[in-house]
Structures are given as structure tokens and as C-alpha cells.
């Protein structure tokens, strides 16, 4: 690395007054069910832990989880119907005290959920803070079970309730109050603004998303299976990250909503964490990845983030926090005269022709398999349609090449040059620069999107609309 500095970046954070050695917290969930777990997590390197929600007494069902696998990979998305902590509240409180005593520099946040009365909230806030919690996270997001009893997302979905309960908590709390938002709402900013009005010190988002992960095609019962029936659960894991990033950005770009943000949703690597921080998060919370691979994953999260920060010249988290917010704008502010086209690197193309089929069926029919004599630029109507290309191959007679008798074509050790006929050509006059081919290409940097100078001054839809009534209505 060109950066020769051996000084590691400082990744400690002060999150709305809560200090933590790093921005990696375990979210309120099974990995933070008890003190023994949390202490092992801190030993592994986690900077903080949001205790599994304590509050109203519950009984859990069996089974509780179901997941979505994708292309042979396990748990792209995880769904759960587990409720809040089913341990006695006094046990949880006693263990909070013990953990804080043994790990004074780590952040221990009490996640709370009780019935919606002022007294109940005052009591639980007092108990958690007396136990030694560094902060409180109000669980206004749990989408299953608790919501049927007027708690969790039932609160988070009604801004007035969220504001009222936040205000009750703030009447009593001496430590920072974080409001955890539900994504199961049409505009998350409305709930975030309510929390801010209620006096919240910080926000965390997102909680899990209402989901049915799948149905067993033998029993016709959705998963997870509980005695012949199932129930909707809360969805999380890598699959939800894009949704979470969008919601974090929405809140953090809204002056009436923005507060210190603890980003949650599919964080599994340091890269995910960096992205949440770039959109304004002060800390990130992790659950599914820790449930999948254990607490040990935090080692690379810390190491990778520090190495990336060194490479980019960031000394502290604050140096890049929120840096991508200004890069997100409304569509109407995008430059309509910016043009890119796909460029295929012939030396890297392996001839899978996925870009060809994607462009024909999923995009704008401007990638062709008509390369017979070298590069062709521009719009040339030489090409066949996909069905004709396949038919030609199927009508060709192939035989097993026998050593000595036949010229060897295959079976030797690669890499081989891809036959020209299988290297697609981009018709740049028709290419709209949609990116699809570069997204489906399995080879890194084989298809790149290259900027074309249109010679036109930048112009947005808003600017164009201002000059024309017709387009404005269009």
C-alpha cells in the first residue's frame, strides 16, 4: 500500500454520548440474549451490544426461524417469529450490571418494550438505568406477536404514539434514548420525525421487515412451521441491506428527522458497515451474520474497516460519516445529457454471452454476435436474432476430437482465447447505458461503462420541465 503510515485509524465512537471502542454493535436479538453471550462477544471484539429486548413477559413458540437460500448459499435472508426476551426481567437486569462491571468501556444498551402506559415505561427506564445500561433503545419496530398486543411496530407505525412514548421515556431517562424504527411503514421519515419531536437522542433503523419466507411445497405450510400453521415474521440478513440503506438515507437527509443513527439491516462485512456510515450512521448493528457465523466475524469487520480507512486517508469515523449523503439526490436533479455506453474488453471476455441474452431479452437489443472479422463500430444491421444463433449451433455436426486425427481444440489447459464469434459487439448508437450487461458479466472489469461526450451542457428534468409545459405534464 502506498500509505506508509503505520498508525492505525481511530475507530472509536461517541454515539449520542454513548462511548464505544468501535462502531460494531450486536443488535437486540438472540446473540445478545444473556450476559454470558455478550461478554464472549466483547472478548471477540464487538464494541457494543443492544440487549435482547426486555419488558413485558412472553412465551415463545417452536420453531422460530426460516430462511431464504440463494444459488446454493445459505441464509441470504432470515426470518423470525421469536418475541422479546423470555427471561425474567430481574435476571436480565442483574446480568447488565455484571457485564458493565466487567466491561466498563464497552457499550451496553438496554432495549425496552412494555405496554403503552407512562408508568410502565417510567418503571422499566428506571430499572435499566439503575442496572447500569449506557443507553436505552426503544423497540418500536418488532413486527410480529408484540404488535398484536399494541407494542413494537404497532407503536412505530403510528407517529403520534411513537412521539408520546418517546416523550414519556425522556421524562425519566438520564442516559441517551435511541428509537428503533420499523420499516413496515410507507414513509419512514414520518416516524423518525415523530421520535425527534418526542425528544429522542438517536435513532436506529431498520427493524425487520414483515415477511413470509416461503412455503413448504409438500405440506403447503409456510415456514417456520409451528404445529401445522405459520405466522408472518420479521425479515433480515443480506437481502434487506438495500432497503435499509435507502431508509437510513431518507432519514439522514431529512433535517426534521436526522439524529445520530445506528444503521441496521444486512450488515455482514466491513464494506457493509462503511456504506451505512457513508450514509450517516454513527454505529452499525449486526445480527444475522453473527447468528450465521458467530461473534468471530467482527475481527475482519474491524481489520477491514481500518485498512480501508488507512487507504483512503481517514483517521476517524467522523472523517467519512455521511459523506455519501450529498451524492444522493432526487431523480429530477440528474443530468439527462450524461451518456455512457458498454465497452467489452475482448481480452477478458470468456464467451458466456450472458450480456447478449440479457441485452436482447432484458434491455435494448443492442449487443450482437456478428463479430466475424474484427471490431465493428456503429450501427450495422448484420446481426441474427438469438433464436437463429442457437439454431445454427444446433444444426452443426460435432464429433469427439480424437488425438492425432483431429486438431485439438479443447481439453488442454487454459486460458484460451475466446473465439471471435462468441465475443459480443456493442452497438453504441443504440446502447442506452443501462448497465445490465456489466451486471450480468461474470468476469470482473470485462464490461465497463464508458462515458461518451455528447457535447451537450448538463440539463436536468427539472430544468427542462421549467422550459416546456408539454414535457412538464409528461
Amino acid at each position: 500500500m502506498s500509505n506508509t503510515s503505520t498508525k492505525r485509524p481511530d475507530i472509536s465512537v461517541d454515539f449520542a454520548g454513548i462511548k464505544s471502542p468501535n462502531p460494531f454493535w450486536l443488535a437486540s436479538a438472540p446473540p445478545t440474549n444473556c450476559g454470558e453471550q455478550i461478554m464472549r462477544a466483547f472478548d471477540a471484539g464487538w464494541g457494543g451490544a443492544v440487549w435482547k429486548t426486555i419488558g413485558a413477559p412472553v412465551t415463545n413458540v417452536s420453531s422460530r426461524y426460516s430462511s431464504i437460500d440463494w444459488n446454493g448459499q445459505r441464509m441470504m435472508g432470515l426470518n423470525n417469529i421469536e418475541l422479546i426476551s423470555d427471561r425474567p426481567i430481574e435476571v436480565n437486569l442483574r446480568e447488565i450490571t455484571e457485564v458493565k462491571k466487567r466491561y466498563p468501556k464497552h457499550a451496553v444498551i438496554a432495549s425496552l418494550m412494555v405496554e403503552s402506559t407512562r408508568e410502565a415505561w417510567h418503571t422499566v427506564v428506571q430499572q435499566a438505568e439503575d442496572a447500569g445500561a449506557d443507553g436505552l433503545e426503544l423497540n418500536f419496530g418488532c413486527p410480529h406477536g408484540m404488535s398484536e398486543r399494541g407494542m413494537g411496530s404497532a407503536v412505530g407505525q403510528v407517529p403520534e404514539y411513537a412521539e408520546m412514548i418517546t416523550a414519556w421515556v425522556k421524562e425519566k431517562a438520564r442516559t441517551p434514548v435511541i428509537v428503533k424504527l420499523t420499516p413496515n411503514i410507507s414513509d419512514i421519515r414520518v416516524a423518525a420525525r415523530a421520535a425527534k419531536r418526542g425528544g429522542a437522542d438517536a435513532l436506529s433503523a431498520i427493524n425487520t421487515i414483515n415477511s413470509i419466507t416461503g412455503i413448504d411445497l409438500n405440506t403447503f405450510t409456510p415456514r417456520p412451521y409451528v404445529g401445522g400453521k405459520s405466522s408472518h415474521g420479521g425479515y433480515c440478513g443480506p437481502a434487506v441491506k438495500p432497503i435499509a440503506l435507502n431508509m437510513v438515507q431518507q432519514v439522514m437527509s431529512d433535517p426534521e428527522a436526522a439524529l445520530p443513527m445506528s444503521g441496521i439491516g444486512g450488515v455482514a462485512t466491513w464494506q457493509d458497515a462503511a456504506e451505512f456510515i457513508l450514509l450517516g450512521s454513527g454505529t452499525v448493528q449486526v445480527c444475522t451474520a453473527a447468528m450465521h457465523y458467530g461473534y468471530r466475524i467482527v475481527e475482519d469487520m474491524i481489520d477491514g474497516l481500518e485498512n480501508w480507512m488507512s487507504e483512503k486517508g481517514f483517521a476517524t469515523i467522523a472523517d467519512f460519516r455521511g459523506r455519501s449523503l450529498e451524492k444522493v439526490t432526487e431523480w429530477k436533479h440528474l443530468n439527462l445529457n450524461y451518456k455512457i455506453v458498454a465497452h467489452i474488453d475482448e481480452s477478458k471476455c470468456i464467451g458466456c454471452d450472458l450480456c447478449y441474452t440479457a441485452c436482447w431479452d432484458g434491455a435494448h437489443q443492442c449487443i450482437h454476435l456478428d463479430r466475424v472479422s474484427g471490431p465493428v463500430d456503429g450501427h450495422v444491421e448484420l446481426h441474427e436474432k438469438p433464436a437463429a444463433v442457437e439454431a445454427a449451433s444446433m444444426s452443426r455436426i460435432s464429433v469427439t476430437p480424437i488425438p492425432k486425427l483431429d486438431t485439438p481444440q479443447n481439453g488442454h489447459h487454459g486460458p484460451f482465447a475466446t473465439p471471435l464469434a462468441r465475443i459480443p459487439r456493442v452497438d453504441e448508437t443504440e446502447c442506452v447505458g443501462c448497465n445490465l450487461c456489466s451486471l450480468v458479466c461474470p468476469v470482473e472489469d470485462c464490461i465497463t461503462m464508458v462515458e461518451i461526450d455528447t457535447g451537450l451542457a448538463p440539463e436536468t428534468w427539472e430544468q427542462r420541465g421549467a422550459g416546456s409545459l408539454v414535457e412538464k405534464s409528461g
Binding site: C352, T400, P403, Q409, G414, P415, T418, P442
Partner: protein, 444 residues
């Protein structure tokens, strides 16, 4: 037909020749099939002589539609189970896989195909008739090897009447009698053919069509005749002692152990020739208990006709290769073969091959296995009317397999001089399609 019950696998042989490439278990198959990129106009499909739609069947495994996967494979290649075991995929589908081009392991297409076919057989799957009703039109297939079986299945699936003749008691030709047991056990070859019999193809075993009279009878009874007769006997060692009873040609040696007639050998074995059959025989000799197995070849490694991976496999089995060595005589005592007398060879600057004078030496051995190719069935083919033969091969129209006598079609080794099972299947299928087209027109 119940050919399977006509054959009992010898347990000793089964133990000595376990699967060379064990099958995938279900989950491993799904993981591997997910690795497939699903290329457009896939090079693996183009490389396959039967044009199996490889990405299509692989993605069906990934989706859990294993039955659909098997049926889509069988639609292209009715002997897909044996092809998945015996194809030299390194030079076919897997050799064409685009994964090679970025230094990744090619998709294990053959093992995935076997996975689909094994599951299909285990679930009692049956071949599909494309035309349910029986249609007028009768075809005779001579020889019950892969080419005839493919032609027969294609015709029967289209509703026509097919009779397959073979002089042997079991169908399958070399698939049944001649493939190394660790690649394809005889019982698995028969299981696959059972499905073709279930379609309604009629088999007549122990029938040899030898002369003009028999052919004339066939011509009268059948609309078309498909010749899938393969090649004839293996070349003999033309040298003193070459006809000693201890000299057993490679195909006979392989057949004997596959049928359980030979389960153990001892002493030293010399195999003459370095083709794929020579290697199959040499490996078998190793496994059957020979103390030393030596392949003699008159040229060097660069010239052998065996595939590279077959050569490597033989070396792993413990077979020795002796290059630039030409046998000139087999010596024997009353107890049996004692040695093979050889001369050293040299390749001169212009590439020609000469014996080194006075270089004679003896290799002590107890058994000699010649594997120097099969001779074409010239005599039989000359009895088929108006059949043009070129260098021992029947001349056909490549796209249809039709011979110079329009009533006769041909495919497989008797046309291509001896290639792979998959080539024979492709030939047979093309002929089946062409004959079906002609029958349809003739019997409208």
C-alpha cells in the same frame, strides 16, 4: 425384455472395479449446478455430438426439477446415462466450458448428468413417446450397440415399428461388453437399454445376418435398414507365436472379466498398443492381480492415440509404458507364454520409424494382450447391395446417415472408423430422425 435379469454382476469384479468418479450426492449436485453460468448458445452444448442442452439440464437440477432435467437430457441422447460415464468430457462439453478461460474449474457436467440419470432410474422413470399411436413403417437395426439403440429409440418414440438384431445374447454392444467396468458396469448399461425395450422396441438376440439371402429377407420385411454393426474383430499379432492361446485380444479380455469369466490373473502382462482400449485392458490387468503390467508402444508418448487423461490414469494404476518398443515374436514353453521378443525402434530426422538392428531383447511375461485396433467388417458390408465403402468405412450423407443405397442408413463405428459412444448415438439419432421423416411421407 428384462435384459437386466439375464445378467448377474460378479461380486468380485464389482469389488475390484469400483466407480472411478463417484456420483454427486443431492446437495453437492445443487451446489455444482449453481456454479454453471448458464451461457447463451452454450459451447458445451455445441461441443456435444448429441447437442444435449447442458445449461438447461443443469439449471433444472439447481431448481430441484431433476425429473425434467433427465427428460431434457434423454430428449437429446437416449444413452445419456452411459455417456455421462464413458464420454471423454475433457475434450467435449467440459473441455468447451468457458470456465477454462478464466482459470476456473469447468463445471462437472458429466457428474451432473449422471446425477440426473441415476435419479431418473431410481425413481422408475420411463422414456417418453412423442407420438402415442403406432404408425405404419418398419425399420430393422442391425447390431444392438449405441448407434442402433439411438436410431431405434428415436423411431419408436415417433410411433414406428423397430426391430433390433444382434448376434450376441445381450444388447449394448461395446457399452455392455467393452467399457472398463469402473466407468460403466455392464448392469448399468443394461438398465439403460431396458428403458428402450419398454418403449416397445423389439430385440432379436442370437441372430446374425450374414449373407445376401438374409439381407434380402430383411429388405422385404422392413422399409429401411439401419446398419449399426460397428467394427469387426481386433487385429491379430502378425508374428511368430502371435496365435498362442495365451495371447488374448484386449476386447476379449475386457469382456471376459466384465462377464465374470475372468476374476483373477497372475504373473506379468504385456499389452501391445497405446490406445484407449489398450489402457482399459492394462488397468484391468492391474486390478485383476497381475504383478507387472507393461504397455509396449513403437513410438513415443506424443504419438499415442489414448487421451491424455487416460494415460495419466494408467500411470496412477501402476501401468508401465515402454516406448520405442516393437514386439516381433511371442515365445512359449509347454507351460505357457514365457516372453515377448522385441526390438528397439528409432524415429529418424524425417519422422519415419525404423527398427534398430541387433537390438532384440526379451520381456518375460505370462500373458500378451494385443490392443492394436479393430478391423472393419469388410466382408459383411460388401454383401449389402450398392453400399459404397471407403477405407473400410460406409460412405453416408453426414446429416442423415443415408448410404448410397437409399434403403440403408448407417452410423457409429462402421461409419466413423471408431469414435466414442456419443458419436454413435448422434449418428443413430440423426438417422432415426431422417428415417422417421421418410416414413411419414411414405405412409401418409
Amino acid at each position: 425384455m428384462a435384459t437386466q435379469t439375464m445378467f448377474q454382476e460378479n461380486p468380485e469384479i464389482a469389488k475390484l472395479f469400483p466407480d472411478l468418479h463417484p456420483p454427486f450426492d443431492k446437495q453437492a449436485a445443487v451446489i455444482e449446478s449453481n456454479r454453471c453460468l448458464n451461457c447463451f448458445d452454450a459451447p458445451c452444448t455445441s461441443a456435444c455430438p448429441t447437442h444435449i442442452d447442458v445449461p438447461k439440464f443443469i439449471k433444472k437440477i439447481a431448481s430441484g426439477n431433476v425429473k425434467g432435467s433427465a427428460l431434457s437430457i434423454l430428449d437429446a441422447n437416449v444413452l445419456a446415462a452411459s455417456c455421462s460415464r464413458v464420454c471423454p468430457v475433457e475434450v467435449l462439453c467440459e473441455g468447451a466450458c468457458v470456465m477454462h478461460r478464466y482459470n476456473k474449474q469447468p463445471i462437472e457436467i458429466a457428474r451432473l448428468q449422471r446425477h440426473a440419470m441415476d435419479a431418473f432410474h431410481a425413481s422408475g422413470g420411463r422414456l417418453v413417446r412423442r407420438v402415442e399411436e403406432d404408425r405404419a413403417g418398419k425399420v430393422a437395426c442391425l447390431g444392438a450397440g449405441p448407434a442402433s439403440l439411438a436410431a431405434a429409440a428415436e423411431l419408436k418414440q415417433n410411433g414406428f415399428q423397430v426391430t433390433v438384431f444382434d448376434k450376441r445374447p445381450l444388447p449394448g454392444g461395446l457399452n455392455t461388453y467393452g467399457v472398463a467396468e469402473y466407468k460403466l458396469p455392464t448392469s448399468d448399461s443394461l438398465r439403460e437399454i431396458e428403458l428402450i425395450a419398454e418403449l416397445g422396441v423389439e430385440f432379436r438376440f442370437g441372430v446374425e445376418i450374414k449373407d445376401e439371402a438374409a439381407l434380402a429377407e430383411l429388405e422385404k420385411e422392413f422399409d429401411f435398414i439401419f446398419l449399426g454393426v460397428g467394427l469387426g474383430a481386433m487385429h491379430k499379432l502378425e508374428m511368430p507365436g502371435g496365435d498362442h492361446p495365451g495371447v488374448i485380444d484386449a476386447l476379449q479380455f475386457i469382456e471376459d472379466y466384465k462377464l465374470g469369466l475372468t476374476t483373477k490373473i497372475s504373473g506379468s502382462v504385456v499389452v501391445v498398443g497405446a490406445g484407449n482400449t489398450a489402457i482399459d485392458a492394462a488397468n484391468a490387468a492391474e486390478r485383476l492381480g497381475a504383478e507387472d503390467v507393461r504397455i509396449l508402444y513403437r513410438r513415443t508418448k506424443e504419438h499415442i492415440s489414448a487421451f491424455d487423461f487416460e494415460y495419466e490414469h494408467a500411470r496412477q494404476e501402476g501401468v508401465h509404458f515402454q516406448w520405442l518398443t516393437q514386439p516381433v515374436a511371442v515365445h512359449a514353453s509347454s507351460a505357457g507364454i514365457t516372453s515377448v521378443e522385441c526390438v528397439e525402434m528409432e524415429i529418424t530426422g524425417d519422422g519415419s520409424l525404423n527398427q534398430v538392428k541387433g537390438s532384440n531383447f526379451h520381456i518375460a511375461c505370462d500373458m500378451v494382450i494385443p490392443a492394436i485396433g479393430q478391423s472393419p467388417l469388410i466382408e459383411f458390408l460388401s454383401r449389402c447391395r450398392d453400399l459404397k465403402i471407403d477405407k473400410g468405412r460406409i460412405v453416408v450423407d453426414r446429416a442423415t446417415g443415408q448410404t448410397t443405397n437409399p434403403k440403408y442408413f448407417a452410423g457409429g463405428d462402421c461409419v466413423n472408423g471408431g469414435r466414442e459412444v456419443v458419436d454413435a448415438v448422434a449418428d443413430g439419432k440423426r438417422s432415426g430422425v431422417a428415417i422417421a421423416g421418410l416414413l411419414e411421407v411414405a405412409h401418409v
